[in-house]
Amino acid sequence: MSAFRSLRALVLGFGLIAGASPALAAGEAISLPDTRFSFDGLFGHFDRASAQRGFQVYKEVCSGCHSMHLLSYRNLRQLGLSEAEVAGIAATVQVMDGPNDEGQMVERPGRASDRFKSPFPNEQAARAANNGAHPPDLSVITKAREGGADYLHALLVGYSDPPPGVQLAEGMYYNKYYAGHQIAMPAPITSDGQVEYHDGTQATVDQMVTDVTQFLTWAAEPELEERKAMGVKVVIFLTILGGLAYAVKRKIWADVH
């Protein structure tokens, strides 16, 4: 029945369109360059050295304005930092704690169990310090933007002078990849050597952008490696089980057909 077969194709197509539509729905007309990352693909994993450098970029460049309040310092252990290194990083900030036995709030050095300290106490303070704009929290930023890591990478290298005829509003910057092209964030990573890497890696603009993208993707999806590794095992297991189930079905049905 050929008409029936075409209906079956319709059902398949239905599934495909269903899968594609939300991505289409968000309607980002600007096409992003497809950057290759170590965490892409079925066997994706994080490049820990790169993510560690990315944390350094975040700490020295981004964290002045952007919070990451869903992460704790202890999470950095997952990037290969030692317990002592994490404790050292946490101790560089002062955290308000308490009340103590006298009912007083006290400041103490940060611990590994503390959340990343936010640069501003609240949104109003952040806006007041940033020309009215609110620098978004970066904890899940690659999940919160269409295009994810590709978008983040493109955005960070996408700054340029506005093309002729484009009038920027006051305090706004031109970015090829930002929706509407006017972004309140000035180009954060602008010159080679802006961050001094300890591991001898050349701190080119592209290297720093790649590293911080690696770090922020890890921050958004710390389960990614475990998830993909488990997925490979699960799919292999199910495929074998499916083959067995099909063989059993064939055997059971042999006398009916």
């Binding site: 029945m1 008409a3 029936f4 075409s6 209906l7 319709l10 059902v11 197509g13 239905f14 599934g15 369109i17 269903a18 899968g19 539509s21 939300p22 991505a23 289409l24 729905a25 968000a26 309607g27 079925l42 869903l70 999470n75 978004p136 904890s139 899940v140 999940k143 919160a144 933007r145 269409e146 994810g148 929706a179 958004a220 710390p222 389960e223 998830r227 993909k228 488990m230 997925g231 490979v232 699960v234 799919v235 199910l238 495929t239 089980l241 499916g242 189930a245 099909y246 059993v248 079905k249 059971i252 049905w253 009916v256």
Partner: protein, 423 residues
């Protein structure tokens, strides 16, 4: 039935003792063991079982998520991310639950497609079909409220748009919306009641599923030929034949599910829902989850708000009278040469609605949505009623065991060797 212990046929003394007092083993044996099932099911008949599996997965993962979720506007978003980061396998639970909803809808849409193509809604299965539509409506309500719980931007704005639909009701619309919200905007009371209802409704679904299955076991299943089994030569016992066949479909289902959960967990979601809800910032495009898009397209196709709401609900309500709109006595479209292309166009129209529902409300999508919406209703209200009178169906096979063979080939071996019984 006579009062007294059930005469159990089980040999095991413990099972026999229980079965005599509560014949649950006899029932399972009758309904899922020896239950006579048409022998000619294709794999489309897997999807009812798959839908039940989906429901169970949603309830199982949901219960564990609820143990770690906080239904409070200031905490909900972070509590979901805490599940992703700090709860053991919390990411697996949440991604399975979020993608499980999509899997549930994919399965149910195919289940409904199979029903429409093979005319399963026709007598004597009208009530079975109507209960199915009730399940579908309950599913939509449950999924909608579930999507509000992470309290992201799409949660908040989706809830705002959908609850606002009720303001289209004349006179009391605004009061209804305030009553639904528990205040003057979508806020903490709304989140709390949605959470409560989101936990309650799956159990209602389970109840209606029970009725759906009970009704099915009165009439028996339809089959690809759409003719009734005439005797044992037309059926096989459910077990092991269909338990084995359903197992194959189930594993394929799990493979698709696993690929989504482990490799593309967010592909069916919206990036905007990873931005915490903000009543002061409206996202550029407010789009519901993909499974609502066809109905969202119908809603937006009508320039009048009340009209749009009526058509949107009408597009599902119309299914309740479908068994009486379709006047053809032939169930399966295999034997309905005229109905088949019209139905294919209807399916295409549904997919088109799904597509344009995710697009901004501008040309050419608005016109496309209107044409597709018009055809959606035209098919049910005009084409199906007329086709039953105008169409000359192909000759139906005599029985399931002896289908009409193209070119008059030999009869399948054994088809006649078994004694014929009256159905």
């Amino acid at each position: 039935m006579a009062i007294g212990l059930h005469k159990s046929e089980f040999k095991n003394p413990v099972i026999r003792w229980v079965d005599a007092r509560l014949p649950i083993f006899t029932m399972v044996q009758k309904e899922y063991g020896t239950f006579p099932t048409p022998r000619n099911f294709n794999y489309f008949w897997n999807f009812g079982a798959l839908a039940l599996v989906s429901l169970v997965i949603m309830m199982a993962t949901g219960i564990f998520l609820a143990m770690n979720y906080t239904a409070q506007t200031g905490l909900a978003f972070d509590s979901v991310e805490r599940i992703m980061r700090d709860v053991n396998y919390g990411w697996l639970l949440r991604y399975a639950h979020a993608n499980g909803a999509s899997m549930f809808f994919i399965v149910v849409y195919i289940h409904i497609f199979r029903n429409l193509y093979y005319g399963s809604y026709k007598a004597p299965r009208e009530l079975l079909f109507m209960l199915g539509v009730v399940i579908f409506l309950l599913m939509m309500a449950t999924a909608f409220m579930g999507y509000v719980l992470p309290w992201g931007q799409m949660s908040f704005w989706g809830a705002t748009v959908i609850t606002n639909l009720f303001s289209a009701v004349p006179l009391v619309g605004e009061s209804i919306v305030t009553w639904l919200w528990g205040g003057f905007s979508v806020d903490n009371p709304t989140l709390n009641r949605f959470y409560s209802l989101h936990y309650l409704m799956p159990f209602l679904i389970l109840g209606v599923v029970f009725l759906h299955v009970a009704t099915l076991h009165i009439t028996g299943s339809n089959n690809p030929l759409g003719i009734d089994p005439k005797g044992p030569q037309d059926t096989v016992p459910f077990h092991p034949y269909y338990t084995a066949k359903d197992s194959v479909g189930l594993i394929v289902y799990f493979i698709v599910f696993a690929v989504l959960v482990f490799f593309y967990p967010n592909i069916l979601g919206h990036a905007d829902n990873y931005i915490p809800a903000n009543p002061l910032v409206t996202p550029p495009h407010i789009v519901p989850e993909w499974y609502f898009l066809p109905f969202y397209a119908i809603l937006r196709a009508v320039p009048d708000k009340l009209g749009g709401v009526v058509l949107m609900f009408g597009s599902i309500a119309i299914l309740f009278v479908l068994p009486w709109l379709d006047t053809s006595p032939v169930r399966s479209m295999r034997f309905r040469p005229l109905a088949r292309p019209f139905f294919a166009v209807w399916c295409l129209g549904f997919i088109v609605l799904l597509y344009v529902g995710g697009k901004p409300a501008e040309e050419p999508y608005v016109t496309i949505a209107r044409v597709a919406t018009a055809y959606y209703f035209l098919y049910f209200l005009v084409i199906l009623p007329l086709l039953g009178r105008l169409e000359r169906p192909l000759p139906l096979p005599e029985s399931i065991a002896r289908p009409v063979l193209r070119g008059g080939g030999p009869m399948p071996a054994g088809a006649m060797s078994k004694p014929m019984e009256k159905a």
